[in-house]
């Protein structure tokens, strides 16, 4: 035990002495979560639009006012001719052009119907889609106000309720994902690098020639990283909770248990990498290319998995982080208990055992 403590102490020195890395480790999640909470939103307000009004009557003006007072749109400019549409779009400032045809109001009065053209810059399809939806509902309301008396025809009012995240905040999805990435970064990447560094510097041999058993060396080496990872995760949880109101509805102990289970998985991955890699650079490359990027892209952290092609969905199943994110989301946001996440938990447990076995075997071969 004394030996063990001496080892852990030395590892703590390594970690705390690298001030820049520590700064990044703590600064990165904080900065990211603040950005996600405050800066990045999908809510569209004040989209720049241009208006080409060929008729310039009081009805087109009224409708224009409806558009501009809705809060969704902001007038960039009035266009004079259809040719300008293209040039304005190319400048990249406006998202939408509303074109009133000639005699817009007159047609409406005389023939009871009129036409309106709306051209969206669809380079960003989601924005275009959303903006067009806004215009539709504005026009609908406008038409209703033109027809006095009780509304003709049937009305069906949709009542929408958002579950688990009433204000559609991006941070809700981000907090579980961020915790996953941090656990990955600290436990898998940093341990693999720190183990390979001992190899690269030749100190590993000396450690192996000492009475410390290989398994003791590894365990002593990873313990500080486990604490570090936990510490940062908890900071993220607290930040999410107190600054953005991301709740922890489920059982905190269950959440911590799942965290621990996932950490075991990523740690054994890190150890596995260190048995393969001879230099820090290689360990770095494998961690980033083989672990971090696939995790960010295919775990459902940012991009919904359901919309990916089948083959990628299939690949995503072998990414432990995918299951972990599901678990964390369910526990934190939906308040699920173990009865709702036991399947995912078993899958992670399976991964953990597989990786631990593989890394132990690899490590032993290397020594033998």
């Amino acid at each position: 035990m004394k030996r063990f403590i001496a080892f852990v102490k030395k590892e703590v020195f390594h970690i705390t002495r690298d001030f820049r890395t520590m700064l990044i480790l703590f600064g990165m999640p904080v900065a990211q979560i603040l950005l996600f909470g405050f800066a990045i939103t999908n809510e569209i307000r004040d989209a720049n639009i241009a208006i080409l009004d060929h008729s310039k009557d009081h009805i087109s003006e009224k409708l224009t006012n409806k558009f501009l007072s809705s809060g969704y749109f902001k007038l960039d400019s009035y266009l004079q001719s259809a040719e300008e549409i293209e040039t304005e779009f190319k400048k990249g400032k406006i998202k939408l052009v509303i074109v009133f045809g000639k005699q817009f109001g007159e047609n409406l009065n005389r023939f009871q119907s009129s036409e309106l053209q709306i051209i969206a810059d669809a380079t960003d399809p989601n924005t275009a889609n959303t903006l067009i939806n806004y215009t539709q509902s504005i026009v609908r309301d406008f038409v209703a106000s033109l027809n006095p008396g009780p509304p003709t025809g049937i009305m069906i009012i949709p009542e929408v309720r958002f579950r688990y995240n009433q204000n559609l905040k991006g941070v809700f999805l981000f907090v579980p994902g961020l915790i996953t990435i941090i656990l990955m970064l600290v436990t898998a990447m940093m341990t693999s690098i720190s183990l390979t560094r001992e190899k690269e510097l030749g100190t590993m041999e000396v450690l192996l020639a000492s009475p410390m058993k290989p398994i003791q060396i590894i365990v002593a080496k990873v313990i500080p990283y486990i604490f570090l990872a936990f510490f940062i995760s908890i900071i993220v949880l607290l930040l999410g909770y107190f600054v953005f109101g991301v709740p922890i509805k489920g059982n905190l102990l269950l959440l911590l248990f799942e965290l621990l289970l996932f950490v075991l998985t990523t740690l054994s991955l890190g150890i596995l990498i260190s048995t393969i890699a001879k230099t820090q650079l290689v360990a770095l490359m494998i961690s980033v290319m083989g672990l971090l990027l696939p995790t960010i892209i295919l775990s459902g952290f940012i991009f919904p998995i359901e919309n990916m092609p089948k083959i990628l969905q299939w690949i995503s199943n072998i990414i432990p982080a995918k299951w972990f994110i599901i678990i964390v989301k369910n526990i934190m946001l939906k308040g699920s208990g173990i009865d709702m996440v036991w399947k995912e938990t078993l899958i992670i447990l399976g991964f953990a055992m597989l990786f631990i076995m593989m890394s132990l075997k690899k490590f032993n071969i290397r020594i033998g």
């Binding site: 990249g92 069906i156 949709p158 809700f172 820090q280």
Partner: protein, 356 residues
């Protein structure tokens, strides 16, 4: 190493363009139909007919529906209350309830859009039928209406890949140019070989240019591969000028390499350099408009994006490839990115000199 550098970008582009998508399709919808009427069936079949929704089940148990939502087997629940049809016909007013899993706020927002569109379609369909019956019965005045024609320019089929692929090129070039340049010199430092170079008569700037030139060429090479993929794998035609695109890419890579170079001069180990670069790049990406439009951000955040070189390239590449914008439309961008390139590289070289 070399095949990796050639193959990686293609693989990344293929995977990312397919994976990094906010295109929402096949949303799983579950119905609680308490009415079981002609209208309710017609409404359901409307959902059935679009690509956006995929019906996962139906019951008259709210509890079961909620369970679907919490188990992620449904994204949205549509509840059609009892007397849905009766109320509509008799009083002209009825309700439907949508309950949406909103953990992913963006997806939830779009889901509502789609669902409401379908509902609107349904409403106008039955109203047309009714007014037709009505107008044949009594000659009442036709209500006023405005027909709206929509057109989606530059991406008629609203294909998300068209939006993402050009932007992913920016990412690719940034990662290659930035990572390699930030790791390279720090590696020499860590290995101690930089001392040897420092004692040779080679000038500092010669050393730096010699180090960076290959990466600059490499990054542009990767850019070329990416452009070819864009054209021949994703079938996104290049609307604008190739020259403008390359000129901008060339300056942009210089700016990014300047950042990498600066990082490698202020860090001691590869791990540090890589962590710091990663940190910066993630923030640059989040604030570049890659996924979420910059215009939606609060004003302070929008101002912050002004010091993000990725933002400018992201805008330029989308404008040039998709809309065919010419040099005139992006000349401000050119000016700014050139400023970046000069600034980052001078700071880096100054810092590097001071250190040794």
């Amino acid at each position: 190493m070399l095949p990796i550098i050639f193959v990686m970008p293609i693989v990344q582009l293929l995977i990312l363009s397919n994976a990094a998508t906010f295109e929402i399709k096949n949303l799983k919808i579950y119905f609680n139909d308490f009415d079981k009427s002609t209208y309710s069936n017609r409404l359901k079949s409307k959902f059935y007919q679009t690509d956006y929704f995929q019906i996962t089940g139906e019951s008259t148990s709210r509890k079961m529906a909620e369970a679907q939502l919490s188990r992620n087997t449904a994204d949205i629940i549509c509840e059609i209350p009892q007397d849905f049809e009766k109320n509509a016909v008799k009083y002209g007013l009825s309700k439907v309830f949508f309950k949406i899993n909103a953990i992913d706020g963006m997806k939830a927002g779009l889901t509502v859009n789609y669902a409401q569109n379908i509902l609107e379609g349904f409403i106008s369909e039955i109203n047309n039928e009714l007014s037709y019956k009505l107008s044949s019965a009594i000659a009442s005045p036709r209500p006023k209406s405005i027909r709206v024609n929509y057109s989606n320019w530059y991406n008629e089929r609203l294909d998300y890949k068209t939006f993402m692929v050009p932007a992913l090129l920016v990412l690719l070039v940034t990662l290659i140019g930035g990572f390699l340049s930030s790791l390279n010199i720090v590696r020499e430092k860590e290995m101690g070989t930089i001392e040897q170079i420092n004692v040779t008569p080679i000038k500092k700037y010669q050393f730096i240019i010699g180090k960076l030139l290959p990466f600059w060429i490499l990054a542009l090479f990767v850019f070329t591969i990416g452009l070819l993929c864009t054209r021949y794998i994703f079938f996104i035609p290049l609307a604008g000028s190739l020259l403008v695109l390359y000129a901008f890419a060339a300056i942009f890579v210089l700016a990014i390499m300047g950042i990498g170079l600066f990082l490698s001069s202020v860090t001691d180990t590869q791990q540090q350099a890589m962590f710091v670069f990663w940190f910066i790049v993630v923030i640059f990406i989040l604030m570049s408009g890659l996924f979420t439009a910059i215009e939606n951000m609060p004003v302070w955040a929008q101002n912050l994006t002004r010091i993000n070189p990725l933002r400018y390239f992201m805008e330029v590449i989308r404008m040039v490839i998709l809309k065919g914008s010419g040099f005139n439309e992006v000349k401000v961008h050119f000016l700014i990115i050139t400023g970046f390139a000069i600034a980052t590289n001078s700071i880096a070289v100054w810092r590097y000199r001071k250190k040794s």
